[in-house]
């Protein structure tokens, strides 16, 4: 179960040091890749069946293959790394950058070779001071190592606090010095990305996986995991477990095992109520749905996803309406405001959920909540509002009785017993103009 590729050797050695990383064969995969034609590197990654670890799970090799060859598009080609990890429940990229910065950089350099780019931009979230300083130190150690850098420049670009900048086109806007609002697609970044040039945007973990694929060979890597979900995944486990943390698993490991073996079981040996499987954007699973493989197909069968691999475990004290409020408030705060259904809808969702929690909601408002969710879905440029709607609708769907109880009993059956009771969210700090109340 503990198959470590991304985090390999980081337990025994300080891999933030270049010498230590080279001592375990670091940068050998880069040398191997540079001895291959770019297309051969892409073919190797296609053979590995690696899919993006940021959340969308798009096949990495295919994404690279979309980048036009230099003779097809004379503009410079760019590699932009999405290190804007901000999904509630996910903290894997944080640890990857902090513990295996050179493996991450090696992956960037291999990818740059594959897509024939000499410019790498790492968009790292502004709050990540720790990982940023580790990367600065790692790049400083590489400054005189032109045998490794090979003429490629790596720029660390720090964000300034905006969840939406994890969406790739919003990230590119932000990197260009603008407000981080998503673009219409097409054109996709592969055709017109940074500075309207061909750009591949990849996640941190994806980059840190690439050297291992080159080392093992794509076919060998593809022997790990299960169909459509090959290789390993660094899973972030948090919430009500005894041993929260990041664990690298082989894809397909059961959710029960993640919670009870790796996570050590529920804190204070309470009962499991629910688990968010892949970060706040994913459909919740009930306690009786955890005998499922942690892989794309198994979770898709339950209409949910691995997302950004943030597993959040909730015990039996938690109120699902309170969870809905906190999640909805998060998306309300982070909505960039460009598309009306998301900007207004997330606010309406919060309003209805707050009325339910306060015992003020009437029966029809339960349906109104689902109606608002439905009217966000598929009507925006990016998935932000949609994921809020899907997540909250799943709480209603899977815990309908509990939501109904809030109406019937004119209040919350859990109250302050639930750890999510009266949690102050940043959005509640802001003063909004009182223009938008939910139309009855």
């Amino acid at each position: 179960m503990a198959t470590e590729l991304v985090l390999a050797d980081a337990g025994d050695r300080d891999l933030t040091k270049l010498a230590e990383y080279e001592a375990v064969g670091g940068y050998a995969a880069l040398a191997k890749a540079r001895g291959m034609a770019p297309q051969a590197v892409i073919d190797e990654v296609i053979a590995s069946e690696l899919r993006g670890r940021g959340g969308a799970f798009f096949p990495t090799g295919r994404k690279w293959a979309f980048i036009p060859k230099p003779d097809q598009n004379p503009n410079p080609h760019y590699l932009v790394v999405n290190a804007d990890e901000s999904e509630p429940g996910s903290f894997k990229d944080n640890e990857i950058m902090a513990r295996v910065p050179h493996r991450f950089i090696e992956g960037c350099l291999i990818t740059a070779h594959a897509v024939e780019s000499t410019s790498v931009f790492v968009y790292i979230r502004g709050e990540y001071t720790g990982p940023y300083e580790v990367l600065v130190a790692a790049l400083e150690e590489l400054r005189t190592r032109d045998d490794i850098l090979g003429g490629v420049t790596i720029v660390l670009h720090r964000g300034a606090g905006a969840y939406i900048c994890g969406e790739e086109t919003a990230l590119l806007e932000s990197l260009e010095g603008k407000r981080g609002q998503p673009r219409t697609k097409p054109p996709f970044p592969a055709v017109e990305g940074l500075d309207r040039s061909p750009t591949v945007v990849n996640n941190v973990e994806t980059m840190a996986t690439v050297p291992q694929i080159l080392r093992l060979g794509g076919a060998e890597y593809a022997k790990l995991g299960v169909p459509d979900s090959r290789g390993t995944r660094v899973v972030s486990i948090s919430g009500h477990v005894k041993r929260p943390g990041n664990y690298e698993i082989e894809n397909g490991t059961s959710m029960r095992s993640l919670i009870y073996d790796l996570g050590g079981g529920i804190t204070d040996d309470r009962d499991l109520k629910a688990v968010i499987p892949g970060g706040s954007s994913t459909v919740i699973l009930r306690y009786d749905e955890i005998d499922v493989g942690y892989d794309f197909n198994s979770l898709a069968a339950l209409k949910t996803a691995m997302g950004s691999a943030g597993v959040v475990v909730l015990d039996d004290r938690c109120c699902m309406v309170q969870l809905g409020i906190r999640i909805s408030e998060f998306y309300e705060h982070e909505s960039c405001g460009k598309c009306t259904p998301c900007r207004e809808g997330t606010r309406w969702m919060t309003q209805i959920l707050r009325r339910l929690e306060a015992g003020e909601a009437e029966q029809h408002e339960l349906d109104l909540l689902l109606d608002v969710c439905d009217r966000i879905n598929g009507k925006c440029l990016c998935p932000l509002g949609e994921t809020a709607a899907i997540a909250v609708a799943s709480y209603v769907d899977k815990f309908r009785g509990e939501f109904q109880q809030h109406v019937d009993e004119a209040g919350c059956p859990f109250g302050a017993e639930s750890p999510l009771h009266n949690v102050l969210a940043p959005v509640a700090m802001h003063t909004h103009s009182p223009v938008a109340t939910v139309p009855a």
Binding site: S86, P88, E127, T129, L194, P244, L323, E334, H421, A425
Partner: protein
């Protein structure tokens, strides 16, 4: 020319389009002026070759950029789900009590601003408190007096 101006000219060269230096320039201006005051926005705009309005329009989008004065120290308590599940609200309230202010406020001496913040990406090490942009992990209400004391004793 100010140091900031020179620094921003260097930053511009890192990117295919010099406009990309906006966020790092705003960060530098905020560090220099304490917050993005009209003077800070002016200096930033001059260095970037744009207008203060453009700088303000961008800055207002981002949570870490402040258009109003903040304390010399910033304490941010993550209150998203994973932290909330293990008691982030109680940590936030302990800071309120210890500092004698409500969340969102700055102490009257201008030393410390306290605010809740969205997921800081440290869910497994909850509760995360970012003190001057460095994470404290596994923070419990009992740890709060010492953190505040350290801030008060600091420079």
């Amino acid at each position: 020319m100010s140091e900031l101006y020179t620094e921003v000219q260097k930053l511009k060269q890192q990117y295919p389009d010099p406009d990309s230096a906006m966020l790092p320039a705003l960060r530098l201006a905020q560090e220099k002026h304490g917050y993005l005051s009209p003077e800070a926005l002016r200096e930033c705009a001059d260095a970037l070759g744009t207008t203060p309005a453009v700088c303000e329009a961008v800055a207002s989008f981002y949570d870490m950029l402040h258009l109003a004065p903040i304390g010399r120290h910033m304490v941010e308590v993550c209150t998203n789900v994973s932290c909330a599940l293990v008691g982030a609200q109680q940590v936030l309230e302990q800071f309120e009590q210890e500092l004698g202010i409500s969340a969102g406020e700055t102490t009257p001496d201008g030393e410390v601003t306290l605010r809740p913040i969205e997921c800081l990406g440290g869910c497994g090490w909850a509760t995360i408190v970012s003190v001057d942009h460095h994470y404290r992990t596994h923070v419990q209400p009992g740890d709060v007096p010492q953190i505040v004391q350290e801030l008060r004793n600091g420079d």
